[in-house]
C-alpha cells in the first residue's frame, strides 16, 4: 500500500461515507421525532434512484402508479377519520396533495420519460414522485399507532420494508440500473483523479446538511420538530401537532433518501434491494450517535465509509463482517457511558 492507494481509498470512503451520513441523519431525525426506527429509509434511496433511471431510459416508473394508489388510500383513511369526528375542515387540502398531485404526476409521467427532457428536470420529477410517499406512508402506517411502543413501531418498519422491497422488484425488475452522471468531467488533484460527480455528491451532501441545520435552527417548523424531539408531551402542550411533525419528518426522510439514491446511482449499480444495505450502514452510523446526536452520526458515517474502503482493500471477503461487527463495541461503550432515558419522559 502506498500513498496513492491510500488516497484513492480515502476518497472512495469519504464518498460513500457522505451518503451514509445523509441517511444516518435522516434516521436520527425520524427516530427523535416519531420514535420510529425507519428501516424503509433504504427503500426511498432505491425508489429515488430507480425512478430516475427509468425516466432516463424513457420508461414510466411503477412508482407513479404506487403514488396514486397510496394517495387514494390516504384520502380514504382521512375520509373515515373526518366522518368519525364530523370534522371536514382540511379535507380539501388532503385531496389536493394526496389525490390531485399524484394524478397530475401520473398524467405527466410519459412526458417526463419522453426524449429530450433535460436531466435536472427529470431529477425534479422523480423527486416529486418519491417524496410524497414519505408522509403518505406515515399517515397510513405509523400515524394510527403513533402511541405504540418503540418495539411495535420497529416491527411495523420491518413489515413496511419488506412490502416496499417487494413492490420494488415488481416495478423495476431484478436487474440493476444506473443513471447518467449529473455532471461530466474530472480533475487531477495530486495523484488522485476526482470526477465531477464525486464533487457533486460531496457538495450536495454538505449543502443538505447545512440546509437541515438552518431548517432546524431558523424556521418555525424546524423548531417545532426539535421541540417534539426533545419532549413529545411538552410539545403537544404548547400546541405543536405531533402528527404534523411526524408527516414533516417523513417528508424530509423521503427527500433525503431519494436524493442520496440519485447521487449514487451514477456511480454504482442500484438494484431493487440495494437500499436496505445502504440504509443499514446509515443505521450503524446513527447508532454511533446513540440515535440522538447528529454530529456524531455524521462522523460515524464517514468512519464507516472509510473503514469499509480500507477493509475492502485488505480483507475483501470480510468487509461487511468488519463494518457490522463494529456495532458491538460501540453499543457496549454507549451502554456504559450514557444515561438511560425513559421512552416517554
Amino acid at each position: 500500500m502506498d500513498l496513492t492507494i491510500a488516497l484513492i481509498l480515502l476518497q472512495d470512503g469519504i464518498l460513500n461515507g457522505a451518503i451514509y451520513a445523509l441517511l444516518g441523519l435522516a434516521l436520527v431525525l425520524v427516530f427523535l421525532v416519531t420514535r420510529v426506527i425507519l428501516i424503509p429509509q433504504g427503500e426511498f434511496v432505491t425508489f429515488g434512484a430507480l425512478t430516475l433511471a427509468f425516466l432516463a431510459n424513457g420508461r414510466v416508473p411503477g412508482t407513479a402508479y404506487l403514488l396514486v394508489l397510496l394517495g387514494v388510500l390516504v384520502c380514504l383513511a382521512e375520509a373515515v377519520s373526518s366522518w368519525r369526528t364530523r370534522q371536514w375542515r382540511g379535507y380539501g387540502r388532503t385531496v389536493t396533495w394526496a389525490l390531485a398531485l399524484p394524478g397530475v404526476l401520473l398524467w405527466l409521467a410519459p412526458l417526463a420519460a419522453g426524449p429530450g427532457v433535460p436531466l435536472p428536470l427529470r431529477v425534479l420529477f422523480a423527486l416529486a414522485l418519491v417524496i410524497p410517499m414519505g408522509p403518505m406512508i406515515y399517515r397510513l402506517v405509523y400515524q394510527p399507532v403513533e402511541q405504540a411502543s418503540v418495539l411495535v413501531l420497529l416491527i411495523i418498519s420491518v413489515a413496511v420494508h419488506f412490502a416496499l422491497t417487494g413492490l420494488g422488484l415488481l416495478f423495476f425488475g431484478a436487474e440493476g440500473w444506473r443513471t447518467p452522471a449529473l455532471v461530466e468531467g474530472s480533475v487531477q488533484i495530486g495523484p488522485v483523479a476526482w470526477t465531477a460527480q464525486t464533487f457533486a455528491v460531496l457538495v450536495l451532501c454538505a449543502a443538505l446538511i447545512a440546509a437541515l441545520w438552518l431548517f432546524f435552527g431558523r424556521t418555525l417548523y424546524g423548531r417545532a420538530l426539535r421541540a417534539t424531539a426533545v419532549n413529545r408531551r411538552g410539545a403537544r402542550l404548547v400546541g405543536i401537532s405531533t402528527r404534523v411533525a411526524g408527516g414533516l419528518t417523513f417528508t424530509l426522510a423521503a427527500a433525503i433518501g431519494a436524493l442520496s439514491g440519485m447521487l449514487i446511482a451514477a456511480i454504482t449499480t442500484i438494484y431493487y434491494d440495494t437500499g436496505f444495505l445502504i440504509g443499514l450502514k446509515g443505521f450503524v452510523a446513527a447508532i454511533f450517535g446513540g440515535l440522538v446526536s447528529y454530529p456524531i452520526a455524521a462522523a460515524g458515517a464517514l468512519f464507516v465509509g472509510i473503514l469499509e474502503a480500507f477493509s475492502s482493500f485488505w480483507a475483501s471477503p470480510f468487509k461487511e463482517a468488519i463494518v457490522f461487527t463494529l456495532i458491538i463495541p460501540v453499543l457496549l461503550w454507549r451502554s456504559f457511558g450514557s444515561v438511560q432515558l425513559d421512552e416517554e419522559d
Binding site: L9, E175, T269, L277, F310
Partner: protein, 389 residues
C-alpha cells in the same frame, strides 16, 4: 319442469364430459420451484416465464406444471418440494435456480424417490452420482467446463498471470476453485483473488489490490448486472489487460448497465446467447433457435435470456424421458413411474437442446460436453461469437 329422458341423459353426459378433462388431465404432474424473488430473481424470472412454453402433452399424456416461488430461500425451497411430493404427488421436480437451495432439496427428492432436474450450475449437485445424487440431474454447464474454455482462451491470448474477483458466496468460491485448477493445468498463475458482494456500492479497494498485482488478465466471477461494477471500476482505473467474465454475465441487462466499459470483455457462454450467429454446421444452432423463437413470440423480440434456456432444457429432458418411462407400463403418480422416469433420464442420448447436446449416463447427470459452450466477446455493445478462441 321436466326434461325428456333422452335430454336428461345428454345433459348428464355433457356434465360428465365437462368434468372429464379435469379428471383425466394432469396425468403427469411436474413440480417447478424457481427463485422468482429474492437475490436470484434475475435467474428465476426468465426460468418461470419459460415454464409457460414447455409442452403440455408428452407421450399422449397431459402434463400439469405446478409453479412455486422459493424467494431464493433454502427453507422455502425445501418446503416447496415437500409440498410437491406430499400433497401433489408430482412425478418430477424442476428447479431451483441456485445451488444451496437445490442441494437442500436433493435430500427430499432422494427420500421420496422423486427425480429432480436442477437449473443451478454447481457440479457438486450431481457429482459423484451416488447416494441422494442418484435422483438429481441438472441442465446448466458445469463451472469446470466453462473454466476450461476460459483457460484455453487465455493460453491463446498469451495470458500468463490472472487476477480474480468474484462474489463472496458459493458462486465465487466454486469459480475460484475451478479456475485455479483449470489455470494450473495450462500453466497460468492466479496472482490475486478478491471478493465482493452483490449489493456492494464500491469495489475500489479490491480493484486497486488487483491492479497492484499487475496480472495479464482478470476474471470477474459474478452473475447478472453486478458484474458491471468491477468491470467499470477496472476500466476507469485504467486497467489495460484482458478482462474475462463467466457465463453469469451472459445477460442483456449487463450490456445496458455496463455500457462502453464492457467493450472487449470475453466470456464463455451457452450457444444460446449467440444462437443466430452460429454457423449452420453447429449442432446446437437449430435447437437453440427453437427456444429463442418460442420465447420471443411470447415475451417480445430480444427478450431471450440464457437462464431461461436451462429451464427449457429441463423441459426437453422430461419430454425425451417420459415416453420411455410410460413404456414400462408404470402409471404416472406412482413410485414405480418416478423410478422409471429416473432410469429413463439416464438414457437420454444426443438430445439437442438450447444450451448444448445432452447425453446422460449412470455416471453423468449433467450431460453437456464441449458443444455446450462457445466463447463470446462484446463488440460494439453486442455479444459476438468468437470461433477462434
Amino acid at each position: 319442469m321436466t326434461f325428456p329422458r333422452s335430454f336428461r341423459l345428454t345433459l348428464g353426459a355433457a356434465a360428465l364430459l365437462a368434468a372429464l378433462p379435469l379428471a383425466v388431465s394432469a396425468q403427469i404432474k411436474v413440480g417447478v420451484t424457481v427463485s422468482a424473488t429474492g437475490p436470484a430473481a434475475s435467474l428465476g424470472i426468465p426460468e418461470r416465464d419459460t415454464v409457460a412454453l414447455l409442452p403440455t402433452q408428452i407421450g399422449g399424456e397431459q402434463v400439469q406444471y405446478i409453479v412455486l416461488d422459493d424467494a431464493t430461500d433454502t427453507t422455502q425451497a425445501v418446503k416447496n418440494i415437500r409440498k410437491f411430493t406430499a400433497d401433489d404427488h408430482v412425478d418430477v421436480v424442476l428447479g431451483t435456480s441456485v445451488t444451496p437451495a437445490s442441494l437442500a432439496m436433493s435430500d427430499v427428492a432422494a427420500e421420496t424417490g422423486t427425480p429432480m432436474i436442477s437449473v443451478a450450475a454447481n457440479a457438486k449437485l450431481v457429482e459423484p452420482v451416488d447416494g441422494p445424487r442418484k435422483w438429481i440431474f441438472k441442465t446448466p454447464q458445469n463451472d469446470a467446463l466453462m473454466a476450461g474454455a476460459l483457460a484455453d482462451a487465455m493460453v491463446k491470448q498469451n495470458v500468463k498471470t490472472l487476477g480474480f474477483i468474484g462474489f463472496s458466496d458459493a458462486y465465487g468460491d466454486g469459480w475460484l476453485q475451478e479456475m485455479k485448477a483449470a489455470a494450473q493445468a495450462k500453466g497460468i498463475q492466479v496472482v490475486a483473488a478478491e471478493r465482493f458482494a452483490r449489493p456492494d456500492t464500491s469495489v475500489t479497494g479490491q480493484v486497486l489490490k488487483l491492479l497492484a498485482a499487475k496480472p495479464d488478465g482478470i476474471l470477474i466471477a459474478a452473475s447478472g448486472t453486478p458484474v458491471a461494477l468491477p468491470q467499470r471500476e477496472l476500466v476507469e482505473r485504467g486497467y489495460k489487460g484482458q478482462i474475462y467474465q463467466t457465463h453469469g454475465a451472459a445477460n442483456n441487462d449487463v450490456l445496458r448497465v455496463c455500457g462502453k466499459a464492457c467493450e472487449g470483455m470475453i466470456l464463455p457462454a451457452g450457444p444460446l446467447l449467440v444462437a443466430a450467429q452460429l454457423p449452420d454446421s453447429n449442432p446446437v444452432k437449430k435447437s437453440a433457435l427453437v427456444y429463442v423463437h418460442a420465447y420471443e413470440a411470447k415475451y417480445g423480440a430480444g427478450s431471450t435470456n440464457t437462464f431461461g434456456g436451462h429451464m427449457w432444457d429441463a423441459g426437453q429432458l422430461i419430454q425425451d424421458a417420459i415416453p420411455r418411462a410410460l413404456k414400462t407400463g408404470a402409471k404416472p403418480g406412482t413410485p414405480e413411474f418416478r423410478a422409471a422416469l429416473r432410469d429413463s433420464l439416464e438414457q437420454v442420448k444426443e438430445l439437442p437442446a438450447s444450451q448444448g447436446i445432452f447425453t446422460m449416463s449412470p455416471t453423468d447427470h449433467a450431460g453437456l460436453d464441449t458443444r455446450g459452450r462457445v466463447m463470446v466477446k462484446v463488440v460494439d455493445g453486442k455479444w459476438t461469437y468468437q470461433p477462434d478462441l
